[in-house]
């Protein structure tokens, strides 16, 4: 194994230091032997000098016996492992190959194009960051290209590089290449493949694999190897939702109780408040223990041991999360299932479901439909046969804690095990909660709003007279660090001291209680405000003034909340402050994290904040004192007839 690096001979210590900092990239190769897949992999290994000399000698020997290149070195034989398949000339299982360059270590999941393709591809794709889809330049986009792309998108691979191979056999035609790219793009517009790239290759001769091809000067992009070395995969991980499925409880003596597991997503720091599912007991992180010393923070996919401040009951199968951001917890969910066994999936039969560190009996209640991997056509089906894919609803005998697979590969996936044979018979991906559900909740609201007038014998006028105020909700909206909570609390103090009945409702408080089940996706933010709007309305109906401090980044959602609370008693105060001021106030370091890519849905950095078009008041909190800000809000409430001063 020889890396092409002068450093090895010259300065091995410098070389080792360079290689300590490599990243790991896993990819899958999809295509058949006819597309030159084995040849391509052989090339990558051969050109990165990962084939040993003795292996090479053995291969050259075998090229004479089994090869298809007339006795010349056949790179395809590098990847053929088992004797059976060498004799049959087909690859029958997933094989893993390894090579590395100065920048990255690569793991290739090499899966066959023909036999058992769905099962093997799903296996290889389940851990891959990237997929290489091979197309033979002579044949263009085929049915198999479509099914490979579908499985890649189903298993949630974000980066796809389409390699158009055997360009030498179409005279290195740019026109042919572009035509294939266009055909492919047209087909995949129906799939969820966010990051697509195209590279023309002649793998047998190594053209555009590691070295630029002299025969395709029209291609200005990177070679395949260059691309694999540089494609950015850092943002693929979920660093937002902290999830630690407990794998093992380490209890060597009475003084130490460590909860061990691999962080499925998110970041954990010493001192953080955590919650244990399913007991919902809350505690704090006392230590993050490793043999090399305690850690201040840990993140996915590290394997850690956590010690908590309190004696909280927690065992294998439980999950440690954050109180403001908990996974869904139920025993019923929908999933897409890939069937891996010759005995078909039978709805109603009891299977074991292994999800994170839990193994629970359950059954598939309904097989909603199966999907034809070649046409994406959906059809009803009584069962799922080997290599078939279907959408199912599932009921387990107890709850699991999960996120949708699209959001979280670790907490959204499971395998299905046959209770008698112990075989792994299926693999499932939990599907996104129906977006229609949230929409429906808003709509149900509106109907209720209309019909809830006369549920009380105490009139609004009587309440106003009792409290000496006309109830209102003031929404303090703005980016993190604009002083929403600070000003809301100061206004609350001033009103209370003036004898008014008032209460602050803030986002963090809501998230630690009523909205524990919500995250920070667009959908969850919408649901957070919908529920908060209801509480504001109840407070107003009770005669109270409600001061609501929320980021509330969406104009349309704010409009819906206004509608819900009652436009005549809903005021919007938009708080602004310069970036420097906001960052200085951000003691939790959210901006820095968001800018580093660790907080994906953070308004102002990684998500949109829509400034209110018609705020009742705009306050620059960076340019005046809190007292001045409070005065302006009080003035607004007086102007609108809510209070008299």
């Amino acid at each position: 194994m020889s890396h092409q690096s002068d450093l090895i001979a010259k300065d091995i210590l410098a070389y080792l230091e360079q290689h300590e900092r490599k990243e790991l990239l896993r990819f899958i190769t999809c295509g058949s032997v006819d597309d030159g897949k084995s040849t391509l992999i052989g090339r990558l290994l051969y050109d990165s000098k990962m084939i040993y000399e003795d292996q090479l000698a053995q291969l050259e020997n075998e090229s004479k016996v089994h090869g298809t290149t007339g006795g010349k070195f056949d790179p395809a034989l590098v990847t053929d492992g088992l004797r059976a398949e060498r004799e049959q000339g087909i690859t029958i299982d997933v094989a893993y190959r390894y090579f590395s360059t100065a920048k990255r270590k690569f793991i290739i999941a090499d899966t066959p194009g023909h036999e058992q393709y769905t099962r093997n591809m799903a296996t290889g794709a389940s851990t891959a960051d990237l997929a290489i889809i091979l197309i033979d330049a002579r044949h263009g986009v085929l049915t198999q290209t479509k099914r490979h792309s579908f499985i890649v998108s189903l298993l949630g691979i974000r980066h796809v590089v389409v390699t158009v191979n055997k360009m030498d056999l179409v005279n290195y035609s740019q026109e042919r290449f572009e035509q294939i790219c266009d055909d492919y793009k047209q087909f995949v517009s129906r799939l969820d493949l966010p990051d697509l790239h195209f590279i023309p290759l002649a793998a047998l001769h190594g053209e555009n694999v590691v070295d630029q091809s002299p025969n395709m000067p029209w291609y200005k992009g990177s070679t395949l190897m260059n691309f694999l070395e540089s494609v950015y995969i850092g943002s693929d991980r979920n660093l937002e939702d902290f999830r630690l499925p407990i794998q093992y409880v380490n209890r060597p003596n009475l003084d130490f109780r460590g909860f061990c597991g691999t962080i499925a997503s998110g970041i954990l720091r010493k001192g953080d408040q955590i919650m244990v599912m399913p007991s919902k007991r809350v505690s704090k992180v006392k230590r993050i223990v490793t043999q090399d010393g305690d850690l201040e923070e840990a993140f996915c996919p590290q394997s850690i041991t956590v010690v908590l401040e309190d004696e909280v009951d927690c065992s294998r199968g439980d999950m440690i999360v954050r109180p403001g951001n908990i996974p869904k917890s139920t025993n019923q969910f929908d999933a897409t299932i890939v069937w891996l066994n010759a005995d078909p999936l039978l709805p109603g039969k009891t299977y074991l479901f292994k999800h994170t560190s839990q193994t629970i009996p359950g059954q598939i209640d309904t097989l909603r439909y199966k999907v034809d991997v070649n046409t994406l056509h959906r059809s009803p089906a009584p069962d799922l046969q080997l290599n078939e894919i279907g959408r199912c609803s599932i009921t387990l005998s107890q709850s699991v804690y999960f996120d949708a697979y699209k959001r979280n590969r670790s907490t959204g996936s499971f395998i299905i095990i046959d209770r008698l044979t112990n075989a792994t018979v299926g693999a499932g991906m939990i599907t996104e909660r129906d977006a229609a559900k949230t929409k429906a909740a808003w709509e149900a609201n509106e109907q209720q709003t209309a019909s809830s007038e006369s549920t009380t014998e105490v009139s609004q006028q009587e309440r106003s007279a009792r409290f000496g105020q006309s109830p209102a909700t003031v929404l303090f909206t703005g980016l993190t660090g604009t002083g929403k909570s600070t000003i809301a609390r100061a206004v609350e103090r001033a009103l209370f001291d003036a004898g008014r009945a008032v209460m602050v409702l803030d986002g963090e408080k809501m998230r630690s209680g009523v909205n524990q089940d919500l995250g920070y996706s667009v959908e969850d933010r919408s649901e957070n405000l919908r529920r908060s709007g209801h509480i504001a309305r109840i407070m107003n109906d009770a005669g109270l003034i409600c001061l609501a401090a929320f980021v509330a980044p969406s104009e349309s959602i704010r409009a819906r909340v206004a509608e819900l609370v009652g436009k005549e008693r809903f005021l919007v105060v938009h708080l602004v402050a310069d970036e420097a001021v906001r960052k200085a106030r951000d003691i939790k370091g959210h901006y820095a994290k968001a800018e580093a890519g660790a907080l994906p849905n953070f308004p102002g950095v990684s998500a949109l904040y829509e400034a209110p078009q018609q705020a009742d008041l705009v306050i620059d909190s960076g340019k005046q004192t809190v007292e001045d800000c409070v005065d302006q809000v009080l003035k607004l409430l007086v102007e609108r007839g809510s209070i008299k001063l």
Partner: protein, 303 residues
């Protein structure tokens, strides 16, 4: 690279620890097979990390063929047993010993009886339902398709056509009585990863890996280093003293030395990167039975 990225070695470490803990949590009676070599050293280190501050909650098992290098046995007893305080089981096939198979004359038979049979009988004797091994997928072609959790029937046989699909990091740990799983936490490590990790983590190894003046004899094209008086010079053979080291450690009559001046870890890594012969080449057993020698051995229950 921002601070929330792991290096490839840290990621491999995390994945291996996950595998080791999963076995400890799910199986009734696991065991870690310990061969004294560098892969075993890394696996031991990972097991210590996985359960720190506790000791690994399973014993180690060394299958001693009675032909291991003296230095290996010394290292095993002083480091693993004494220093780490790990429960160490040693199995010697006493029945096989009576047959007195000469590994020089019949290397195949020796490996089958003293290693494969010995391992199988030890697993059966203690009733282990999971056994960790330090094999890596990059070692040899037939291992490229091996699972991390590799199912074995009650005869400890491996059936390449009947392996369980392995998705994500969800490992199926279920076995019926007498069946077992071989678990390979180092599956995704390469030889370079192993060496680099040993170097970074400062993991102790037997000196045999480092070059030293040692007595050697050329036999069947390999440099064999006589380790005790069971070695008999054949006609025409002479003992020479050379700077040599061992790239793999096994039974000394079957393990060829390589000439080398590498006396430090970085020098070993340098030498490995500059030479282009793969590590199992020094082992005589892989070449038996043509290109698929290891594959046949595995079906019979060899690791």
């Amino acid at each position: 690279m921002n601070s929330y990225n792991l290096t490839h070695l840290k990621q491999l470490e995390a994945e291996s620890i996950h595998v080791i803990r999963e076995v400890a949590a799910e199986f009734k009676k696991p065991v870690m097979l310990y061969s004294v070599g560098k892969d075993s050293a890394v696996m031991t280190h990972l097991a210590l990390k996985a359960f720190y501050p506790a000791k690994p909650p399973f014993p180690f098992l060394h299958v001693d063929t009675t032909w291991k290098f003296r230095e290996m046995i010394e290292f095993r007893d002083s480091y693993v047993k004494k220093e780490l305080g790990i429960e160490l089981l040693v199995n010697i096939n006493q029945e096989g010993l009576k047959l007195g198979i000469d590994p020089f004359e019949n290397s195949d038979k020796h490996t089958e009886v003293m290693k494969t049979d010995s391992l199988k009988s030890a697993l059966t004797k203690y009733g282990f339902d999971a056994a960790f091994g330090g094999a890596r997928r990059d070692e040899e072609k037939s291992r490229a398709k091996e699972r991390v959790f590799s199912f074995r029937d009650k005869f400890h046989r491996w059936d390449p056509k009947n392996q369980r699909p392995e998705l994500w990091n969800l490992y199926n740990c279920r076995v019926n009585p007498q069946e077992s799983i071989r678990v390979f936490p180092l599956s995704n490590w390469t030889e370079l990863d192993i060496w680099q990790y040993i170097y970074l983590e400062n993991i102790p190894l037997p000196d045999l890996y480092l070059a030293k003046m040692r007595p050697v004899v050329v036999r069947n094209g390999a440099l064999i280093s006589p380790n005790d008086d069971r070695f008999k010079l054949r006609e025409g053979e002479v003992i020479e003293h050379k700077m040599v080291r061992f790239r793999t450690l096994g039974c000394w009559p079957l393990t060829g030395a390589v000439e080398s001046n590498a006396t430090t870890l970085p020098e070993i890594i340098q030498e490995m990167l500059l030479t282009k012969t793969s590590e199992r080449q020094g082992r005589v057993i892989d070449k038996d039975g043509g290109g698929a020698g290891m594959e046949l051995k595995k079906m019979q229950g060899y690791f």
